[in-house]
């Protein structure tokens, strides 16, 4: 019974004769949606970049031996003191526990597992970088460099030189960028390091490593696994850390627990290590949505206002439509379709505006020491946000149109016609 052609034709005529109000109402929606798209794209772009900055450098599961005292001190094992209260002062941590026991079998086991993308052994050593009379404390990490580049985006952080150069140079080192500038060293030069125990080793700089996090770049360098084992005077099975990348990051917490029990090591998963990071991301998203929804509510009030005024102006028209046989529902649809047309037009323009602004932001140069791989502001062009945007637009205009159009539906034509 609803004749949409006639209804839409009346709605169209109303909108076109009130071009200014129509444009104002549509622009309200346009700016609301445009701002939402721009903000959400930019914010999530930044979030993703910051996430990957941390997460790509963090293994999904990290196996190591925690430095801790033995839970069962010898005295508690001795039956003679079974029912006594004992006090031990100056407890020391367990000996020789930096090394993971049976590291090589564990590695083999992990590499064969289906849900493991890769597992890499690491040797961490506390060392000094010698530069003339000054020695800088730091960490040297022995890695299987080709596996590391396969599993993380380490290659992006080698700002000078290549990982292949490290692999082919036995005594090569990827020097932290902070260290390199402190000691005025560059690729091709040599740096001397000494271990805590005292030996001095010259290493050739094959690359500069810059993670973007100053605290790391100022102390940390990478060598081949074998080189560090030699420097420490340890055998080939000496591995202090195992980093595991999984195919699905969600498996990490469960898997970490299993490994912890199975191999009697400490296993931290990525969620544990980066809990505070998630919080930051969530709060930024919350702010984005709060601002966008506020903008849309304002736009919704604009539409509500304009439709309300239109309905007051068109009282007589509404009365005449009803007198000539249009039902209240028809009249409501006339005004609802006006609101929805404003919502659709404004919403689509808003998506376009948001996209254009995102493209502009995406092109703005953004270079920072901390982020060697980034040259422009990061923007996330995810289609999902555009879908949410248009749904938002339609929903808010629907609600804004519903109230006044419902009033139009209930207008009593007799009152209007007799009232004049």
């Amino acid at each position: 019974m609803i004749n949409w052609r006639v209804i839409l034709n009346i709605a169209k005529t109303h909108l076109l004769t009130k071009m200014k109000s129509t444009a104002t109402a549509s622009l309200g929606v346009t700016f609301g949606i445009g701002a939402y798209i721009t903000m959400v794209s930019f914010m999530t772009g930044l979030n993703n970049m910051l996430d990957s900055l941390i997460l790509n450098q963090t293994p999904h599961i990290h196996l190591y031996n925690e430095i801790e005292p033995t839970v069962n001190q010898p005295i508690s094992l001795f039956e003679g003191f079974e029912n006594s209260v004992y006090m031990i002062s100056s407890i020391k941590p367990k000996q020789g526990q930096k090394k993971i026991h049976n590291a090589l079998p564990i590695l083999n086991y992990l590499k064969k597992k289906d849900n493991v993308k890769g597992a890499t052994p690491q040797v961490r050593a506390q060392i000094f970088y010698l530069s003339g009379a000054i020695d800088l404390g730091g960490t040297l990490i022995g890695v299987d460099i080709m596996e590391e580049t396969r599993l993380s985006n380490m290659r992006d952080y080698i700002v000078d030189g290549t990982p292949e150069a490290l692999k082919s140079t036995d005594n090569g080192i990827l020097l932290g960028s902070g260290l390199a500038s402190k000691m005025s060293l560059s690729v091709g030069e040599r740096v001397q390091i000494s271990t805590v125990k005292g030996g001095i080793f010259p290493l050739k700089i094959v690359g500069i490593y810059q993670s973007g996090i100053a605290d790391i770049d100022n102390v940390q360098s990478f060598c081949n696994l074998k080189t560090v084992q030699q420097i420490l005077g340890e055998a080939q099975n000496y591995v202090t850390d195992i980093n595991i990348k999984l195919n699905a990051i969600e498996d990490a917490p469960a898997m970490a627990k299993i490994l912890e029990k199975q191999f009697d090591v400490t296993a931290t998963d990525i969620n544990e290590a980066n809990a505070q990071f998630e919080t930051g991301t969530n709060i930024r998203n919350l702010i984005t949505y709060a601002v966008s929804i506020t903008l849309l509510i304002v736009a919704g009030f604009g539409i509500y206002n304009i439709l309300n005024m239109l309905i007051y102006e068109k009282m007589k028209d509404i009365a005449i439509l009803k007198a000539t046989g249009f039902s209240g529902r028809d009249v409501q649809f006339i005004f609802m379709s006006q609101a929805m047309i404003i919502g659709i037009v404004g919403g689509i323009l808003g998506l376009i505006l948001g996209f254009v602004l995102s493209v502009i932001i995406d092109g703005v140069p953004f270079e920072t020491e901390a982020l060697p791989t980034i040259t422009t502001y990061p923007v996330n062009f995810s289609v999902g946000y555009y879908v949410i945007g248009i749904v938002f637009a339609l929903l808010s205009t629907f609600i804004a149109g519903w109230l006044p159009s419902n009033k139009a539906r209930r207008i009593d034509p007799v009152k209007i016609i007799r009232g004049t």
């Binding site: 019974m1 006639v6 009346i10 007589k316 005449i320 007198a323 046989g325 209240g328 007799v414 007799r418």
Partner: protein
Amino acid sequence: MDKVLEAKNINKHFLKPKDFHVLKNISFAIKKGEFASIMGKSGSGKSTLLYILSTMDTEYTGELYLNEKLVTGRLPSELSRIRNEHIGFVFQFHYLLSEFSVLENVMLPAKKLARKTNQEIEFDAIQKLKMLGIENLAKQKASRISGGEKQRVAIARALINNPSILMGDEPTGNLDSYNSDNVFNIFKRLKEEEGLSLLVVTHDEDFAKRTDYIIEMEDGRIIS
């Protein structure tokens, strides 16, 4: 003869500002092809009666028949349909949709009825305008024509669906004597040539005297 419109014991109260019995036991019938007028002083209830007869006002007791079918108590959407199909309405103030052209105004009720194609409706509308001698205005905006012309357009709109009855609420009340005459002659012609039934509320005694019969009202009752 067939009764086009019949009212049986219609009573109506206005509840605000206080209870007031506007219509008291109104009963009458209009047969096909009759041209009746309702007269009475202001406040006699004649307009109130007309709006009840037009199905727009549903707050009354009693029974109303249109083409011998009961319309009292129907759903609002059904009443809209009945108005659209069977009742043509002409008001004192011309009430055209000012943003639309004359032709579109006339076509609108027929488009709502949606029984004919747009071309057929347009043809009908031009026929009606021709009959009323204003086909030259078809493409004009409704806001750009004179009062007498507007009233004729309103009549054309009321006729577009070939209604059973044409109702008028002081259709000449806002017109000068020349245009009033004109409207009366149109009504007369419609009755004679098309056999249309008409019911017109009016103040104008000259107008009323020329109709088939007068229903005179006072204090909510029909007195003659």
